[in-house]
Symmetry: C2
Subunit: 246 residues, 2 copies
């Protein structure tokens, strides 16, 4: 059996997230349809993570086992001809038999885009969160420092009874805010992420800019392990899974 790792890019505007759902078009279902039509049968697909409805991916990894002999290079083009234009296979390669897109993952990077101008940007509708008021980038970056390292991030996780409980410790290796003209980007890397973790961090950083929190409040909020102490969950459309590290 060959084990094939596929790297995908997709515009989340058109999908209700990764995972197959009844009554909603998802990335997984759409990809599966293209894969089945290419290979003739449908292998079990392992995705690197769930992404929420409206969330984008510059890099999303998945793997599957197959007996099919199609060369990886040809698989890329065969799949792309069968997939909608809102997604693209950017790579396909053979990996070790025990490779698993989710369990072999060592870390991920997300970016969150904010269009920071009173006037909206039509070309970023669905691709960045539109925030009217001036953002205090320095204050936000000051707050970022408190997130660095290994912490229990329960305060930055949406309670979801459908997801397994477990260890809420994660290690954040990078968190910073950049401003390029009117486009503000939050970048965050970690060994793993809890449900809605990036969106709650971003909502809390915006709260810092708004004066709802002081940068130093982050320490207490993290330590409290209480979701109600952190800021709001930022809207999904600014979020991009940017890198998956194996």
């Amino acid at each position: 059996m060959r084990n094939i790792l596929v790297t995908l890019k997709y515009d989340g505007k058109y999908y209700h997230g990764w995972q197959i759902q009844k009554n909603a078009v998802t990335v997984q279902e759409t990809f599966q349809n293209g894969l089945k039509s290419t290979l003739g049968d449908l292998p079990d697909i392992k995705g690197c993570s769930r992404t929420d409805s409206g969330v984008h991916a510059n890099m999303y990894c998945l793997n599957f086992h197959t007996e099919h002999k199609i060369p990886c290079e040809r698989l890329i083009y065969a799949l792309n001809s069968r997939l909608p234009k809102s997604m693209a296979v950017i790579n396909a390669e053979e990996v070790a038999d025990d490779f698993h897109a989710r369990y072999s993952c060592k870390g991920k990077e997300y970016i969150y885009k904010i269009w920071n101008n009173r006037i909206r940007e039509p070309f970023l509708d669905g691709y960045a969160f539109h925030y009217w008021y001036g953002l205090d980038i320095d204050k936000m970056n000051e707050a970022c420092q408190y997130f660095m390292g290994r912490h229990d991030f329960t305060s930055f996780c949406t309670v979801d009874n459908h997801r397994p409980k477990g260890d809420f410790h994660r290690t954040i290796t990078d968190l910073h805010v950049d401003k390029n003209g009117d486009l503000v980007t939050v970048t965050v890397s970690a060994d793993g992420f809890l449900y809605n973790m990036v969106r709650i961090i971003v909502g809390t950083l915006i709260g810092v800019s708004e004066g709802k929190f002081k940068p130093s409040d982050m320490e207490y909020i993290i330590r409290s392990c209480d979701r109600t102490k952190a800021g709001v969950t930022a809207q999904p459309e600014g979020l991009y899974l940017n890198k998956v590290i194996y």
Copy 2:
């Protein structure tokens, strides 16, 4: 009567061009609906040009006369709250009574975006022309030189019996091709443009890269005043009206 100049940005993916049509949603109609709802009545709107279906505008100018006393700054936000997210009013200002968005225009700049990679870019679907094969940027730029200055551009104009015949001379002040990673951008400035002129120039420059034409063939093609001598009309989705000069 106040004469108001409005600058608009719009995502052409959602519109059948600027001009009002039966049975198709256009930018003009959509803007008029927002303006009527803001001012209470509908003034006559003069647009700076027609744009084709699927063509975008980073800057589109229009003007209208009104007795309404709303300050220009407030008009921007009032209009944006009434317009769809695929367009935005980025400026509004009072101008001299005889100003006309079309007739007062001294020149325009268009850009044409080409995604030049065998693998498509999902986030540029509808925002750049996807061209698979390697483009010879140097050769294209060599061809560009022949377009500079004042010429009869009949060879680069789609015959359209619905448009007034007239002088086909235009003065091109800039035409060049840039490459930034996999994104190739053609920039062209002129005192005015004929119907489909930019798209035919781009189609012809791609023909130069493909070896269908030599760069020096441009001289003969322009002189022939014969549309059949030039290249194909490039697809609309890569085209952006980028600047309007008064």
